[in-house]
């Protein structure tokens, strides 16, 4: 190895997969180059990456600098420029840009595809990736500027694969596994995710927004892609009618035949399953009864929290009138504190061609592009102008479901046309009846 790395070497021990071992192995492999690859970027790139990381472990600071503007022609996103601040000592990573490769829905892969990806990346980049980035993309971690167009060309021409988002664009949408392998999914997350991704390719690649914008698709309120915490628009599956109950299966849970919560708690002896304590008493809307061996749900009061279904998946199933709720405005803490998504559309069907959903998406964008300031996320604009403004723009009738609770301050900003007689008044007329 080019650099001694005593500190990070320590991270080779312990049971959890060691990224250091992996990178060292990769560095060695590149050095040997048994396959005789004509590496398009420095062969020792990984060694320098390890070296600079060791330096940071030593001096407690990062050694990466701002990116500058690099990218592929005609796109405003997909590449994050990066340079190291010690190019002399670590020339292999002097330029070390990342590329975001849009992941497929549900992150299903074939080995064929992944190996193509690896071939491309071994040739033209560091051979180091993030599988996957926090937004969802495959991250190609580290290449040089001249390689960007080459990689893009090969991706699009040979692999039918586009880049993902970055910059003030729509970001690569992401979904939970949903109907592909989950019995709880209330709509086809992959289908909707893909449809909107394709529909909005232009918004994804060419910056026209005030700031970044994210879509995430959760098939049900369990939230396995965490959309409510990290998507400007979260699409969360839900249903309108009744939870389907199989009383025999309920009995099997009560009788101990089926493990509660599909066995998720089997690492400890929690005692025999107690349907009263574990299901009935924990329902947040107290709408379940278990009497005479029968489970009864007052579905009108159910808030579709999933708990009872999660505990007894073989006995309870989501309803048939399915669709999704749309929440808007989630984001990370910068600048004003983190936000979760706020409910905007309680229920909409998720049926191709998804026109109703697209109308909402575009209504939101129109408003945000009109009113949003530079680097103002949707959630911040909502905070600044108010949820009712967004509802007004979308022509959605405000409804108690939009709030957790009504306002506790009475500071209502009435508009002039809502007030009888308008606002213009004549002070002299007033003074006739109210002396100074």
């Amino acid at each position: 190895m080019k650099h001694a790395t005593p500190l990070i070497d320590q991270l080779e021990t312990g049971p959890w997969p060691s990224f250091v071992s992996d990178m060292k192995h990769q560095a060695e492999k590149r050095a040997k180059n048994e396959e005789n690859i004509e590496f398009q970027i420095p062969q020792d790139v990984v060694e320098d990456l390890l070296g600079i990381l060791e330096l940071s472990f030593n001096d407690g600071t990062t050694h990466w600098k701002h990116g500058g503007i690099v990218g592929v022609f005609g796109y405003g996103g997909g590449v994050i420029g990066r340079y190291c601040d010690q190019p002399g000592n670590f020339p292999g990573v002097a330029h070390f840009h990342t590329m975001r490769v849009a992941q497929p829905g549900g992150k299903f892969y074939t080995s064929k595809y992944l190996k193509e990806i690896c071939d491309l990346w071994d040739l033209r980049g560091s051979g180091i990736t993030n599988m996957h980035g926090s937004t969802g993309d495959i991250i190609f971690l580290g290449t040089t500027t001249p390689q960007l167009e080459e990689i893009f060309f090969e991706l699009t021409h040979n692999m039918n694969q586009d880049l993902g988002g970055s910059g003030s664009n729509l970001r690569t949408p992401a979904d939970c596994i949903g109907q592909a392998r989950c019995e709880y999914a209330c709509y086809d997350t992959q289908a909707l995710c893909y449809d909107l991704t394709q529909e909005y390719q232009d918004e994804l690649h060419r910056p026209a927004f005030p700031y970044k914008f994210k879509f995430k698709f959760d098939g049900c309120p369990n939230g396995c892609v965490a959309s409510i915490a990290r998507a400007d628009m979260s699409f969360i599956g839900t249903w309108k009618d009744d939870i389907k109950v199989d009383q025999e299966a309920v009995a099997a849970y009560v009788g101990g035949e089926f493990a509660p919560n599909a066995g998720a708690h089997s690492g400890r002896d929690w005692g025999a399953f107690d349907i009263q304590k574990e299901v009935v008493a924990l329902c947040p809307s107290e709408c379940i009864k278990y009497e005479d061996g029968k489970l009864a749900i007052n579905n009108r009061e159910c808030v579709r929290c999933m708990h009872c279904i999660n505990v007894m998946p073989r006995a309870l199933r989501i309803g048939d009138e399915r669709g999704l709720s749309i929440l808007a405005g989630a984001k990370a803490p910068i600048l004003d504190g983190a936000q979760m998504g706020s409910l905007v559309v309680p229920f909409v069907k998720a049926e191709e061609p998804y026109d109703e959903i697209k109308e909402i998406v575009e209504g939101i964008w129109d408003w945000w592009m009109e009113e949003g300031k530079n680097r103002e996320r949707l959630g911040e604009l909502m905070k600044r102008q108010g949820l009712q403004k967004l509802l007004e723009v979308l022509n959605i009738k405000p409804d108690a479901r939009h709030v957790q609770e009504p306002r506790s301050n009475p500071y209502i900003f009435w508009k002039e046309d809502e007030v009888e007689g308008g606002w213009e008044r004549d002070i002299d007329e007033y003074r006739k009846h109210h002396q100074r």
């Binding site: 070497d9 080779e12 021990t13 312990g14 049971p15 959890w16 997969p17 060691s18 990224f19 250091v20 071992s21 992996d22 192995h25 398009q40 600079i52 990381l53 001096d59 600071t61 990062t62 022609f73 005609g74 990066r82 497929p104 829905g105 549900g106 992150k107 892969y109 074939t110 080995s111 992944l114 990806i117 690896c118 051979g127 599988m131 926090s134 080459e150 990689i151 021409h157 692999m159 694969q161 586009d162 019995e183 390719q201 309120p221 939230g223 396995c224 892609v225 409510i228 599909a262 066995g263 998720a264 574990e278 708990h307 998946p313 990370a332 910068i334 004003d336 983190a338 979760m340 957790q404």
Partner: protein, 381 residues
């Protein structure tokens, strides 16, 4: 080595250009059993930690083996994953939303061989390549960010803190003894790529020193108005400074108003914050994302600062371990960490987790801070 052209011609960038094709379509990659039974799954079961079976209306079954992975992954490792998939799963695999790897087989008979194969593979340093686990009421993989491996604003490392933590809680990755799932997340600066703000436990890199000012270069490298506008607390003002006898345009920072968010540095490279002693870790706890039983919750700051004691951050893993154990011992079945803390009261949370409550944990950021104070005579002694 020689430059190999992909076919791209820089002189005619638009020639043959293919754009806006999006990602590959999901169904190209579905294993047959998934393609066939999509939308028709009946129920699932966790057979043992890391191993799930889903049963379809058709009677078909799919067995999933979930393995932990450092998401910072070389092509060598990806190739090894492909090899495993080809050997056992007809070449199909997937990644989860928390960066675990899932191998799926359509027959129970195929599970054991796959399991054995995965468990046997180790890195040279001795760590598992594909530890099986991460399901149910345990601790799964830590979602995280770039840290010192790639980003320009981190206050700590990402992969390193994650490795240190996962080693410490590894048995809970391979067990399901906790009251409910416990999700740990990591972000290396306040930008919080990964949105750790709703996690049972969140590891967050945080600066504690206001930006340095590279006056000589500031006006050359930055748009001063953008830097000023970037500051959420209005701590930055324009200023004229004398550098080497010359007056230059620059900025001044009112240090007492700085909350070290680094937003100015994002806009202006001449305002670096990073510092060995200043930078470190904030721990947050009690957040959640799911709507199960209780509504989603933000995580709360429970440890104001811990130093970057590389390579293993012992103070950090110690505090995390304390939380995990106190939670495991005291919470009720199905109760998420935040639900537990709220039920027993945060005063008890600190006591049971043996964490110190300091003034830093009292919210003083803007108006909503007020609503986190205690407006009641209800409390526990």
């Amino acid at each position: 080595m020689a430059f190999i052209s992909s076919g791209y011609d820089p002189k005619e960038p638009m020639k043959n250009r293919v754009t806006d094709i999006g990602p590959r379509k999901y169904d190209e990659f579905y294993p047959p059993v998934i393609a066939k039974n999509k939308g028709k799954w009946l129920y699932h079961e966790i057979l043992e930690p890391g191993i799930l079976v889903h049963v379809a209306e058709s009677g078909d079954e799919v067995y999933t083996i979930r393995c932990g992975g450092a998401r910072l992954m070389s092509t060598s490792l990806i190739r090894e994953i492909c090899e495993i998939a080809e050997k056992h799963c007809d070449g199909y695999l997937r990644f989860t939303t928390r960066n675990n790897i899932e191998f799926m087989v359509d027959d129970k008979g195929k599970v054991d061989a796959l399991k054995k194969d995965l468990s046997a593979r180790k890195f040279a340093g001795g760590s598992y390549k594909f530890p099986i686990g991460g399901t149910g009421a345990g601790i799964t993989n830590i979602v995280h960010t770039q840290g010192w491996i790639h980003c320009h604003t981190p206050a700590t490392d990402a992969s390193g803190t994650v490795k240190a933590t996962m080693d410490e809680v590894f048995s809970d990755f391979q067990n399901m003894r906790l009251p409910a799932p416990l999700r740990i997340s990591m972000a290396c600066c306040l930008n919080m790529c990964g949105a750790v703000h709703c996690s049972d436990i969140a590891i967050l890199g945080y600066h504690r020193k206001p930006p340095m000012l590279d006056h000589e270069w500031l006006d050359k490298l930055c748009e001063i108005p953008l830097a000023i506008a970037a500051c959420p607390t209005g701590a930055i003002k324009p200023a004229k400074i004398e550098v080497k006898g010359q007056e230059v345009k620059s900025v001044a920072v009112k240090n007492e108003r700085c909350m070290f968010c680094g937003n100015c540095y994002t806009m202006c490279p001449s305002m670096p914050l990073s510092d060995k002693e200043g930078d470190g870790i904030v721990l947050m706890a009690g957040g959640k994302v799911s709507n199960r039983i209780s509504m989603p919750k933000f995580s709360k700051v429970v440890v104001g600062f811990l130093p970057n004691n590389t390579p293993r951050w012992p103070e950090m893993t110690d505090a995390i371990k304390k939380m995990v154990e106190a939670y495991a011992a005291d919470a009720r079945k199905y109760e998420r960490l935040g639900e537990w803390a709220e039920r027993i009261g945060w005063e008890r949370f600190f006591e049971k987790c043996e964490l110190e409550f300091t003034h830093h944990l009292i919210d003083d950021f803007r108006d909503p801070a007020y609503y986190t104070w205690r407006q009641s005579s209800q409390f526990k002694f």
